[in-house]
Amino acid sequence: MIGPEEGVMQSRAQAMGALLELITDQPLIICNGFPSREAQKLRDRDANFYMIGSMGATAAIGLGLALNRPEKTVVVFDGDGNVLMGMGTLATIGALKPKNLVHVVFDNEVYGTTGNQPTYSRVVSLDKIARAAGYVNVERVREREDIVYEFKDMLASDGPSFLLIKVNEQIEDADRVAVEPRGITERFKAAMVSE
């Protein structure tokens, strides 16, 4: 599995854009660094929770929400660096098995926000770890049509699901998250009540 893979590699923003087109009313938790900035640029919405600090905690925030709002499908946009930092959470999710959690990992194999220092995801397959931990649906994709097909399927299936998307290192020119942290909380909570 290690080494060059077949197909055309997307940028994270391209892959993220394809997913954001498929999201309707699902709450979305997005990891720190450029992923949050790119999501804000591509499709800002009240039900986006931009986690600007606390690296490693994205999936656990999504898990806490999913456990307490079983009627909603919770989507997490994560990165390889975040997953590696909070890897214990893969075990927690695999053990608790929330049906309504879709954990997407944009894996560019680097800490892109801080200058492309390599992560261990180049040699450690996060999808295999997720499968071993007990995620119900696990897919590893890189081409746009596969990304769209698998994400659609996961939104409609019982999870927990883990979608590993291999992306290139390109970063979208995107501003810092504009909403103040407490404003992110207020509008997200309001969206959870009204939607």
Partner: protein, 165 residues
Amino acid sequence: MIDSDDFVKALQDIGLDFFTGVPDTILGGIIADLTEKHLYTPAVREDEAVAMAAGAYLGGKVPAVLMQNSGLGNALNILESLNLIYQIPCILLVSWRGFEGKDAPEHLVMGQTMTQLLDTVKIPHRTLSAETVVDDLQWTAKTFMEKRIPLALLLKKGIVKTVQP
């Protein structure tokens, strides 16, 4: 000594409805009672527990995180860079290992410095006692509602009944 069942009921009475954390012997009775009532979701690290509690709060719950005070070290970054700036509150039920220097060596530094640490990082705290428990929980509810930040209730050995390990 407070019965763990009474303590859990009192926590529920002030509105707490999601409990997660990492165990400690001092907290064993509370966790056993919460588990029996299907109210407790175990976490693997204290920062993960705080993150799960944050997700629960975003979903409309009033969360509590149980941990040994050594876990405060693990949770410090998320408490600072998520909870405090996003105004995401949670109630930290923290066992006070190393109180007055009477514990295993690994607990002594945190046991001695914990309250100063909490003051430094601006997390309000109160030490629970059997005599003041009603007042302590009123303070907890009031601080949670008014400040919307994490706050800590510190539990010394022998305040709430525990189970034998």
